[in-house]
């Protein structure tokens, strides 16, 4: 009799635990890897959430950026995507048009909306609905090497492209392996590096009439500026074999006078080259005072086919509290997207970050149009040809503009 009762109790307990497990809801999150800190951060957040919500099971899947789009493509095509995923906001339009991303407005209370700087929420709004939350935001500014400036006798940080050219030549004259201006000519954002000069000369990526802005005076002048920098030896040699990371590596070694990149370089310098004397300044302006910086956000989206939207939202809610945001933003070296985070001393007192945030009013984001990846590739191809001297600026840019118009027109 006792044995029976015991067995029943055991079975009952087993059943209950199974039921308990079945009741645990799983939320899968695809996380794009920024650095070695990304994975651990999200794992920590997941654990904290699970402790506060015992029925929840958060699974973090870390994916390297280079293969993120490939992975998402295969996942979605197989109906095996996660519930949440980080994506580049420039991809958002495809996700929205194909009904992949779910609108988030029903979950967003006014209080939630107020947690953000409006400028960062805007890129994710389409047709009046919000499809993603800005999880990372960045802009670009110019880093310069104070030691090299001193050695070359440069007293004022260049503020126009003309001044930059002069300063760069002086710095390059310092030695064989020293370059004045670090120019990126390879892989992702090669086109953006070109845009810094393009915008400074008054260029617009997409003109009002909907055609490409590459066949304009601004573009020709910008290309000629870069080409003359290359030809006069003011940049590192072999521009087209340097991606952004390569140029950053040169800068960290103290071999480059100036380069344009994102806030995370400050963090890297602190860890890898703490003795480097550097400063952060605005991206140079053009003859008419125009200047532009590249604003980038990455968004976290919820998939329309997610079966655990409520729970996924709860996790998002937690991720976007000040404490967790501050940790992420600081660890990765991004710009704060939440006003409360921006007020924290780590950010408010950060001189480097100030240079970036000062540029935000001039921030241009990648146009939210389908086919942007292809357009960026065509632009990169064209400027690479120009850098190599395989094509004249006007010819290459006009040809690219024509191809891009074809893509825009579709």
């Amino acid at each position: 009799m006792r044995k029976l009762a015991f067995t029943t109790a055991l079975a009952g307990a087993a059943f209950l635990s199974l039921a308990g497990m079945a009741a645990a809801e799983t939320v899968r999150v695809t996380v794009a890897e920024y650095s070695s800190k990304t994975g651990p951060y999200f794992e920590e957040a997941a654990k904290a959430f699970e402790e506060a919500n015992p029925d929840a099971d958060i699974q973090i899947e870390v994916v390297p950026w280079d293969v993120l789009l490939q992975k998402l493509t295969t996942d979605i095509s197989g109906g095996a995507n996660a519930d949440l995923s980080i994506i580049g906001t420039r991809w958002l339009i495809d996700f929205v048009e194909q009904g992949i991303a779910a609108p988030l407005d029903e979950y967003m209370s006014d209080e939630f909306k107020d947690r953000f700087f409006p400028v960062f929420l805007e890129p994710s709004v389409m047709d009046g609905k919000t499809y993603g939350l800005p999880i990372a935001a960045s802009a670009r500014a110019m880093y310069y090497n104070k030691d090299l400036f001193e050695q070359a006798g440069i007293e004022e940080v260049p503020d126009t492209w003309e001044e930059l050219a002069a300063a760069a030549e002086k710095i390059s004259a310092l030695g064989d392996d020293i370059a004045g201006f670090g120019l990126q000519g390879k892989e992702i954002e090669t086109d953006v590096y070109f845009y810094y000069a393009f915008w400074a000369h008054g260029g617009e990526l997409v003109e009002d009439d909907g055609t490409s802005g590459l066949d304009s005076e601004a573009a020709y002048k910008a290309a000629e500026t870069y080409k003359s920098l290359i030809d006069s030896g003011a940049t590192q040699p072999g521009v087209t074999s340097y991606n952004r990371e390569d140029v950053q590596n040169l800068f960290k070694q103290g071999k480059v006078g100036m380069m344009i990149t994102a806030p995370f370089l400050s963090n890297q310098i602190k860890e890898e080259a703490p003795d480097l004397e550097y400063g952060v300044a605005a991206i140079p302006a053009g003859p008419d005072g125009d200047r532009g910086t590249y604003g980038v956000t990455d968004s976290i989206i919820m998939f329309e086919n997610s079966e655990n939207k409520e729970l996924a939202w709860k996790f998002l809610d937690m991720l976007f509290t000040t404490e967790w945001r501050a940790k992420f933003t600081e660890g990765e070296g991004f710009l704060p997207v939440n006003p409360e985070v921006a007020k924290q001393p780590a950010f408010a007192d950060n001189a480097d970050l100030k240079a970036f945030t000062d540029l935000l009013p001039d921030a241009r984001f990648a146009p939210v149009i389908p086919g942007w990846e292809e357009i960026a590739a065509k632009t990169s191809d064209a400027v690479q040809k120009i850098y190599l001297g395989d094509a004249e600026p006007k010819a290459a840019l006009d040809a690219a503009a024509e191809e891009i118009n074809g893509i825009l027109g579709n």
Partner: protein, 291 residues
């Protein structure tokens, strides 16, 4: 002979056939299907569009460039490997001090994943921070850094060289096997008749090696044609698509631009091309007698 399932050849090959077929035929079918449809960037079919995808690929100027370069890439590596592996195999077949060590070294590239090999080379080829340049400078061979990966004229040959280096282990192994199967008496007889080394090579070694040469050419052709990591990790097919071969062009088309329909069409075309070449080569160069 006693009949039993174990002596029925069809039963014996069935599991192997099924396994291979399952993994190949279904994806191939999917590929064909996607190539004939209009498909969004996530692989969701949106309706038949006949041969539009194929035409779009065909008329893309980058396609022709990639096609031409694929021919150079494949030919360069296959023939280059052949030219190196034959003498190397002959040396390794002979008895000399340290032969085992030499054999292990020649096989080493096989021990590393192709992707990692490519990444290490890319790291070493960096213009200003790469150890190849610093090594060459230390040896006094160059006095200015060469920007290896900056343009196709320097990058592509280097990529082909890397391709040859990683193909040598496999090819040398095959040739070693072939060489070891040539009976020594033949060489003895030739020596007694006063044949020169070159004559021996041409009249005895080469003809008997022919089957091995052929099989290595066919297999290498197939592997090299589709080889992705080397070019991708070093230049991503750039700058400006100047080092693109068909398979890197395919990757960009499918996973960067999201044009899965065209990418699938291209895959089918690549497969057909490879198939045609192989059949051609096999029928011309190889006389098959099934044993």
């Amino acid at each position: 002979m006693i009949r039993s399932p174990l002596t029925n050849p069809y039963v014996l090959i069935l599991p192997g056939f099924l396994l291979a077929a399952f993994i190949i035929l279904w994806p191939l079918y999917q590929l064909g299907l996607i190539s004939l449809n209009e498909v969004n960037r996530f692989g969701q079919l949106r309706g038949f569009n006949d041969a539009e995808n194929y035409i779009a690929v065909f008329t893309d100027p980058d396609f022709l460039g990639a096609l031409w370069r694929t021919a150079i890439w494949t030919g360069g590596i296959v023939i280059g490997t052949l030219l190196v592996s034959v003498p190397v195999a002959m040396i390794l077949n002979d008895d000399f001090y340290g032969r085992s060590i030499a054999r292990v070294i020649i096989m080493l590239p096989w021990a590393v994943s192709l992707t990692m090999t490519a990444i290490v080379w890319r790291w070493a080829l960096s213009g200003e921070s790469g150890m190849l340049n610093s090594g060459l400078q230390n040896l006094g061979l160059i006095d200015q850094n060469i920007q290896w990966l900056a343009r196709a004229s320097t990058a592509f040959p280097v990529q082909i060289m890397i391709g040859i280096l990683v193909t040598i282990p496999f090819t040398t192994t095959i040739f070693l096997g072939g060489l070891s199967s040539i009976p020594d008496d033949l060489y003895e007889a030739a020596r007694l008749e006063g044949a020169s080394r070159w004559q021996t090579f041409r009249e005895i070694t080469l003809p008997l090696m022919k089957p091995f040469l052929n099989i290595s050419i066919v297999l290498n052709m197939i592997y090299v044609f589709n080889s992705f990591p080397i070019i991708w990790a070093t230049t991503q097919g750039g700058p400006a698509n100047s080092t693109d071969i068909l398979v890197t062009y395919l990757y960009k088309l499918g996973f960067r631009f999201g044009k899965l329909g065209e990418a699938s069409a291209l895959s089918v075309m690549m497969f057909a091309l490879l198939l045609a070449f192989t059949i051609l080569y096999v029928s011309l160069a190889m006389r098959r007698d099934s044993k």
